[in-house]
């Protein structure tokens, strides 16, 4: 059963608003009062995947769902998709454009860092049909 569900629109190439969804996610989690480390991990995952949609994907959305066991993030876009997921997960691999690099991105560290911070990561992607990231962060059991 989900306790909360919120979705946020993400616009391709919109660097003015890029990151706003992730910051909203962080705000919601802080207001609920989750453990700071879990908030940090979830916010990093949200931000990196949102930036990837802006830079590499098409228009898309980020959906935050909370239940009693985990924080879930679903990030979908309608871009061209990730051709080789294993390659994309390698540190340093990036197809970022000159503009992306000027904005401070393109280190090829985003997906590896999502993997590091998430307890669960599934990347669904077909060439030409956009990318879908399913990310889960387990709530700490006291």
């Amino acid at each position: 059963m989900s306790l909360l569900k919120r979705s946020f629109e993400i616009k391709a190439r919109d660097f003015i608003r890029a990151g706003e969804a992730a910051i909203e996610v962080q705000k919601i989690l802080k207001n609920i009062g989750f453990d700071p480390e879990q908030i940090r991990r979830a916010s990093i995952c949200a931000y990196e995947s949102e930036m990837n949609v802006v830079m590499h994907g098409g228009d898309g959305e980020l959906v935050l769902t909370l239940d009693t066991e985990k924080i879930m993030l679903d990030i979908n876009d309608q871009g061209s998709g990730i051709e080789d997921v294993d390659l994309a997960l390698q540190e340093g691999y990036s197809t970022a454009s000159q503009e992306d690099r000027e904005m401070g991105f393109g280190a090829g560290m985003g997906l590896p860092n999502i993997k590091k911070n998430a307890d669960f990561l599934e990347i669904l992607s077909d060439k030409g049909a956009g990318a879908h990231l399913k990310i889960g962060i387990n709530l700490r059991k006291e």
């Binding site: 003015i16 890029a18 930036m51």
Partner: protein, 120 residues
Amino acid sequence: MKLSEIKDALRAELITADDCLNMYLRAGTASDLMSDLLTGPTNGALLLTGLCNVQVVRTSVVAGVAAVVFVREKHPTPEMIAQAQEHGLPLLSTSFTMFSACGRLFDKGLRGVETKAPRP
């Protein structure tokens, strides 16, 4: 190290509200690569950067960076200042280069975010 001491050591200008000069920074980090920054333990740290755009502010908020210094006289835009104020993130600007700014802070006792030095 206190933000006021950092400001003095870098002869920096504090761009956001001056109600944060007593803030304590536990460590320092320097980067122009935002995703690289997000891989480290940057919570509560000072960020020195030569990059000056709104993503620096957003990345800092996500990373839990406590304050940001722009080196080489880079000056944040009104949009960046507004966002930083909203999140209580102090922004400073120094005319020192990245290397000199880091060196000056290290000299005064500020250390990096790593918990142990790599083995030789």
